[in-house]
Amino acid sequence: MNDQSLARAAVLRPPAAGPNPVLRLSGIGKSFPGVRALQDVELALYPGQVTALIGENGAGKSTLVKILTGIYQPDAGRIELDGAPVRFPTALSATQAGVTAIHQETVLFDDLTVVENIFLGHQPRNRFGLLDWGRMTREAKAILDRIGARIDPHVTLRELGIASKHLVAIARALSVEARVVVMDEPTAALSQTEIEELYELVDRLKADGKAILFISHKFDEIFRIADRYTVFRDGQMVEAGLIADVTEDHLVERMVGRSVDTIFPKRHAAIGPEVLAVEGYSHPTEFEDISFTLRRGEILGFYGLVGAGRSEFMQALFGVTKPSRGTVRIGRQAVAIRSPAEAIGHGIVYVPEDRGKQGAIRPLPIVQNVTLPSLGRTSRKGFLRMAEEFALARRYTERLDLRASALDQPVGNLSGGNQQKVVIAKWLATQPRVIILDEPTKGIDVGSKAAVHEFMSELAAEGLSVIMVSSEIPEILGMSDRVIVMREGRLAAEFPREGLTPEMLVRAAAGYGRAA
């Protein structure tokens, strides 16, 4: 309560001798079925200043970005541009009003060229009202030069890697005459040099008098470029102010709402014999020469920058894609895994990163999702037995403390964290030996996250081996017994738990320090 009003006052107070805000949001609320993503949110952006928006996963940051850019309509509240109320019914109207964004997910067109991706929706026209490709190409080159991206504007996007795609998204945001530029985790997929170039770009935009909203989980960069900050927690704004007035610890405290140590309750478990050994796994384009071992009761962390190829490697290990080379041993026995069904047969299961596409079958009930890979056990001679299915589903969902009104509810109606629990329950129900969790807490709320983490340690203690792919350093540091770092499809480093620092992980992932 008090926090709220304090924060509100901070937003509304103009900076010392500063100008009026270009853009001001007040009382913004937005709900999705089962989730209240934003509630009574205030935000002000000032010309020539960078405002950092911070908050945990699922705090509602991206939702706010989508409201600002006309993709979602707020349920409540108002948006003012230069003091005048505005509405953004479509993405185009926001662009035309001078609000542009680099979205968190790259939302671009794989089959169109770079030029086209940059200008689609607001292409320059010639005097006959037809598209002016010459001008588009010239301008595209100019913008790409400006952000230091060495990308041929005529190639199709499919041919680019994730970092280049991200640069194209940035170029797209800069292709309109914008007054407000929103950047939702723009550095997440970039390498260090590209990040430096982006910082310079932000400085130039500031100098041009643009108002910038910068969303990031990395505190070093927030302190490097932001002038102001706003903290979200669970869809509400909890604090705003000047960066100069605060410390990192204070921001973290405000963000999470309690002390950080309690999040990762990794318990020590006895680490047993080797259960999985991978030797020389390679793929023509995705990864090369991956070798490691995993022991009983161990949690093995896989760290890397986004796009390092961890997910791809895990999927190959799970039999989704075919490796070109390499062997797998389970226990002492060499096995060939050619399909997920075989992997499951060998006791290896994979909780995918892309929950919506690869994990949950959203329109189907919880019970059918959970029992899918275990149908062989719940059925008799190929015929379904509903009672057995419900029993199995209940056993595992209750253990994970799933919040649902009934087991025959469609999974799609659940909140993200609960969907993730269903997916995890699905795999635990197969009683695996090795579980691969790919970004297990991505996009799920604080509470569920803690529950997932607690459960992971419990499983490890029971003798299950866990591979945890994560891009969150605290999660990696908190949960892993051992950490492997991947970079550009290769193993970059391997660290034991003791003495591991965020520094070491970042260096290995970005390719500066050469460890192990």
Partner: protein, 326 residues
């Protein structure tokens, strides 16, 4: 990719030339300019419809009602012409196109506003439109002697060595090429089919774009309604029955991806010509007409198989060493 797309069309063009050469090698005169022009003329209607269908398919929809639309507009203008021979042909063409647009808009609205899957919508309107033909004509034929001379003369009038029908087809090819390449709508059509989710982020209305594709396809079908009826100088309920599948086939052979987002005007034109050449060559080559169906079926399968091979999604390129090799 773009060079690759070009090579796919080049491949198709090559196949077409090879086919013509094959027929010519056994039957002198097939490749004579005059005959090729005749084949082109004969394929005009298919080509126009294929271009409209291409736009629809590129938005990840399908329009199965084009042939029924053609029949209905054709019958309507024939009836008007028979009842009032004084109405100028230009007005009738406008009527045909206008009615076609309307029928296309009906499909488009159901897809846009009610979000009914396009295949269901056009499956329904396919039967409805053709039923209406039967109802308005009472099942009767409109024969050439009931049509005014101007009505039937236009498509076969020769200008600069080519019949007007061919010129109309060429004009449509040009217009659709301009639409796709040089207008925001054209690019929106490609974008919507390529990634509807991302299209929303770029401020493109997915529903409206699909609606427009249906409208254009309907308008072109309406135009073909007039062309067909005047060219064959007869209108009846079963005009062009089943032709929608030929139209889809022409698109598919031309490399238009049924999954949306991929397709070129050149491809669709070549696809239509490919079918046109086969249809015209069989009687000339003295191959029993009973073979025609099987041959075009096999051609469709081979064409999609080739396209599918080309389109197959490869893994992401992460390894630096693989980046340049790809």
């Amino acid at each position: 990719m773009s060079t690759f797309l070009k090579s796919r069309e080049a491949m198709l063009a090559l196949a077409l030339v090879a086919l013509v050469a094959l027929v010519e090698s056994r039957f002198r005169g097939f490749a004579a300019p005059g005959n090729l022009a005749a084949v082109f003329n004969d394929t005009s209607v298919l080509m126009i419809l294929a271009l409209g269908q291409m736009l629809v398919i590129m938005t990840k929809c399908i329009d199965l009602s084009v042939a029924a639309n053609l029949a209905l507009t054709g019958m309507t203008v024939a009836l008007v012409n028979a009842a009032a021979p004084g109405v100028p042909v230009v007005a009738l063409i406008a009527l045909a196109v206008g009615l076609g647009l309307l029928l296309g808009a009906f499909n488009g609205l159901l897809v846009w506003l009610l979000d009914i899957p396009p295949i269901v919508v056009t499956l329904g309107t396919l039967t409805i439109y053709r039923g209406v033909v039967f109802v308005i004509s009472g099942g009767e034929w409109i024969n050439s002697f009931e049509m005014s001379p101007a009505f039937t003369a236009l498509p076969r009038m020769v200008i600069l060595g080519l019949p007007v029908l061919s010129w109309i087809a060429l004009l449509v090819v040009l217009l659709v090429a301009v639409l796709v390449r040089l207008t925001p709508l054209g690019r929106a059509i490609l974008a919507v089919g390529g990634n509807a989710h991302a299209a929303v982020y770029t401020g493109i209305s997915v529903g409206f774009t699909r609606f427009m594709a249906f409208v254009i396809s309907g308008g072109l079908a309406g135009l073909c309604g007039y062309l067909w009826v005047s060219r064959y100088a007869v209108a009846y309920t079963d005009v062009a029955v089943g032709f929608e599948l030929d139209v889809v086939a022409a698109c598919v052979i031309g490399g238009v991806s049924i999954a949306g987002g991929i397709g070129t005007v050149g491809g669709a034109v070549l696809g239509a010509l490919f079918l046109g050449v086969i249809k015209n060559a069989l009687p000339v080559a003295g191959i029993s007409p009973f073979w025609q169906l099987a041959i075009s079926g096999a051609a469709i399968i081979v064409a999609v198989a080739l396209n599918a091979r080309a389109e197959r999604t490869k893994g992401r390129i992460i390894l630096k060493s693989a980046e340049h090799a790809a």
